[in-house]
Symmetry: C2
Subunit: 306 residues, 2 copies
Amino acid sequence: MGLLVVGSIALDSVSTPFGQTADTLGGSAVYFAVAGAVLHPVQVVGVVGSDFPIADLERLAQRGVDLAGVARVPGESFRWKGKYSYDLQSRETLETRLGVFADFRPTIPPAFRTAKFVFLGNIDPELQLGVLDQVRRPALVACDTMNYWIHSKRDLLLELLRHIDLLMINDSEARELSGDWNVYRAAQWVLARGPRMAVIKQGEHGALLVNGETTFMVPAYPLQEVFDPTGAGDAFAGGFMAYLACTDDLSPASLRRAMVYGATMGSFAVEAFGIQGLEHVTAADVRARVRAFKELVHFDVDEQEP
Amino acid sequence: MGLLVVGSIALDSVSTPFGQTADTLGGSAVYFAVAGAVLHPVQVVGVVGSDFPIADLERLAQRGVDLAGVARVPGESFRWKGKYSYDLQSRETLETRLGVFADFRPTIPPAFRTAKFVFLGNIDPELQLGVLDQVRRPALVACDTMNYWIHSKRDLLLELLRHIDLLMINDSEARELSGDWNVYRAAQWVLARGPRMAVIKQGEHGALLVNGETTFMVPAYPLQEVFDPTGAGDAFAGGFMAYLACTDDLSPASLRRAMVYGATMGSFAVEAFGIQGLEHVTAADVRARVRAFKELVHFDVDEQEP
């Protein structure tokens, strides 16, 4: 039941109203892996430069993250620097230095090629397609993308959609991709182009899963303190995919639970800077929060009244 | 089990990307009453001018709206004119003419004074306090307000909070009132000032109920077509209060269902212009949508895995 993620491994410098970090471990593959590994081992394919603090990454191996697919190549590591607004509702990218990530060509190690669950993090859709050429009949391929690729590589992205099972994107990306501001119509637009499922992430408002028959919504967990929204979406993806991998169950009921596990991991991600919020989470913490989600949305339909 | 609403009765002229209306029936008390009356009779206290198309209002009596508290006085009726953005996410007030509403002093008819459930629509908090002096020991008093009163009559609003059970406001109003951008902290701020419950409405993202022990969230119903968001919050309030009135049950489980009935009425409100979406809703329509809400958020916690 291999679970594979291909994506960025970065050094993030983040500023929020509550503090700042400099060159700390980040990137889509890292957030995905740290979140997912709480539930199921995660195989990572990515690249770092010769300046990367490799011990920080190797620490994750103890948590169940398999780093056999992480290439270390000469050059500077990918760095991202961002600043959040006072209410964490928006962020500004202050600096992006791609470094070795600019020439990243994912090579999937033979042992990872039979992964049953594959997550294509937000990278060039051409590279995402290249990953699909290297894996053997996964049960579920999910994919993220971003506005940059929607504009610059639209045709390749549409080609990619024909080969994946699930597109998992932000609401703003769903709107840009489909040209429709209504997220439910945007989701239908996606489904008409290949994927049988769409997950639309709405940040502090949760996420929705749309497939042919149903829509399922999970809110974001109500947190009185949010320190750093960075990586919440990737942590969501990690929790979602890892739940499916460890249960090996793609039934509608299981997909709903996977959404809740995703939202659970997203909530742990934002409670501390960088990956700190996720790094010490236990399976018991996860179970408790999943039950709290149930309490948050549960109601009984009274068949009699009114 | 009387259910009383005091609020505005207006003639709205609304423009959305999908059409426009001119001088059609609107106002907080009207939306509340039309929505609530699907479940339980509603007693309305408000004022209209001599130019009001009274037949439009009287039509609502057939739906269970008791208009005995609506005063008709010489002068011009309250008119509001607004225009929504292309995505319905924001609106601009083009014109507000208070007319007779400027001198509105609610007088509760004797037959309404024993109402067990009271909703104080968005009017001057001084007038809201005046209503409380006229009613006899209601079981639940809920109250709405708006940014205008938060700024201009803050002290009276804080006094009002000491006398109500539930404050039901928009997220932006909760933030302005509390001075805190985090809606969960804002809700706690409200609870510390009198009400034992706060409902924070988040438009297309649903609503949350916070009391001392728990938080409950209901999403907005996923609609591919929204025509006119006007009155959705008041329709929510009408559904919420009418559910409680017709069940006469203030238990935690009933309050959760009331939130769902509120969201249900809000969803019918936005599906057509003005009150049209609500005016023909049947109890069966409501039950079907409540069940759809259940399907939208329901998941089972798997106690075994992962």
